[in-house]
Symmetry: C2
Subunit: 223 residues, 2 copies
């Protein structure tokens, strides 16, 4: 079997999507810890366009972008499928993956700003949550139906990130009376063994985000 | 055969991606012209999250987002494949599709602004073109090799849009001495019969973008 390496860093939420996909398939891999403040020659070689983690290296060939890596994993290791086989259901799953990719940067706006820019991030994040609540889940347990699928991995990382950001910043957007379906989904998602067993340490993650926020705001204030 | 409808509007570049995919497969379809200033109940029903064109309706079921529609078409009508069958090659094609989706909004910044915001759009667009030139094509005729594939359709729409914006705004970014591979690719792409035969009328497209830009700038100036 060709060697599988994952270039990543804890507790990066995009890296977790790939870890969850590999674990749900039972694929053995080597985790290569990257320092994104001092990128390795390997990372620059394998992802020359974005120079970002995660990168999956399989048999010496790189695959970049977390959700493209998840699709690659699903094609190479077909057990426990993450994408439906029906083309229409597949297009719906891909729609929500793209939605997660396009809309979730609003959470960074909350984390990295104060004042008006932070308020804008909160507004956009609430709109994202409302769209998922109204159109994403219906009466299903997971986006993928009874089992987690690719859209669950996409939003799993987004919503975990949001929960940590809420704690780091001291706000609460994910309220049960506003987003009952989404919160049920999140509870179910966090109980899936493969997810539960691989989450980063909560306190460390909150501390890391808080430190990142403080450093950014300090740098912005001194400009 | 289930009925195929395409909800779109001329000369929207995202709609062209879908038209090219359908034509390259030889799929018959009905084009339903939408007025995006007065969205139809059908569009609101079929794309309730974004309320945007294009939407493909196949056998009564909607598929949204141009590049997701192209993948759907490729799965339902497998003749003249638009995606490679090898999972690694597929991940590379998907990487460039995502790159086109993420980076091409810089062209709208040029079209819709003047001054610093327009300069920022030009800077980002040049960075996008440079990345394609340096990493996207290599010595291949098309992103997909000898035949056009999904990444060609993604960039075909982006670069056609840029060429029209250059004309509408009066700038020139796509210069042969800076981007020789990209311009060769564009020339080859425009000669593919399915593309050549379906491009919107040049003068009409330029006039439409120019009018859109003027209206936007006038609205911004009167605020």
């Amino acid at each position: 079997m060709a060697e599988v390496k994952l270039l990543g860093q804890f507790p990066n939420p995009y890296v977790y999507r790939v870890i969850w996909a590999l674990k749900s398939k039972g694929v053995q891999y080597e985790f290569v810890e990257e320092d994104i403040t001092n990128k390795s020659p390997l990372l620059l070689k394998y992802n020359p366009v974005h120079k970002k983690i995660p990168v999956l290296v399989h048999g010496g060939k790189p695959v970049c972008e977390s959700m493209i890596i998840v699709q690659y994993i699903d094609e190479v290791w077909p057990q426990n499928p993450l994408l439906p086989s029906d083309p229409h259901e597949k297009s719906v799953a891909r729609f929500w993956v793209k939605f997660a990719e396009d809309e979730s940067p609003s959470i960074y706006k909350i984390l990295q700003n104060t004042g008006e820019a932070m308020e804008q991030g909160i507004k956009e994040t609430l709109e994202m949550l409302q769209a998922i609540e109204d159109h994403g889940l219906g009466d299903k347990k997971f986006f993928g139906g009874d089992q987690i699928g690719i859209a669950d991995l996409a939003f799993g990382s987004v919503i975990y990130g949001l929960v940590v950001v809420q704690e780091a910043v001291g706000i609460k957007l994910l309220e049960a009376h506003k987003f009952p379906r989404l919160l049920d989904w999140h509870k179910n998602f966090m109980q899936v063994p493969v997810i539960k067993e691989t989450l980063p340490d909560w306190d460390e993650t909150v501390a890391s985000l808080r430190a990142g926020r403080e450093a950014l705001l300090k740098a912005a204030a001194s400009q």
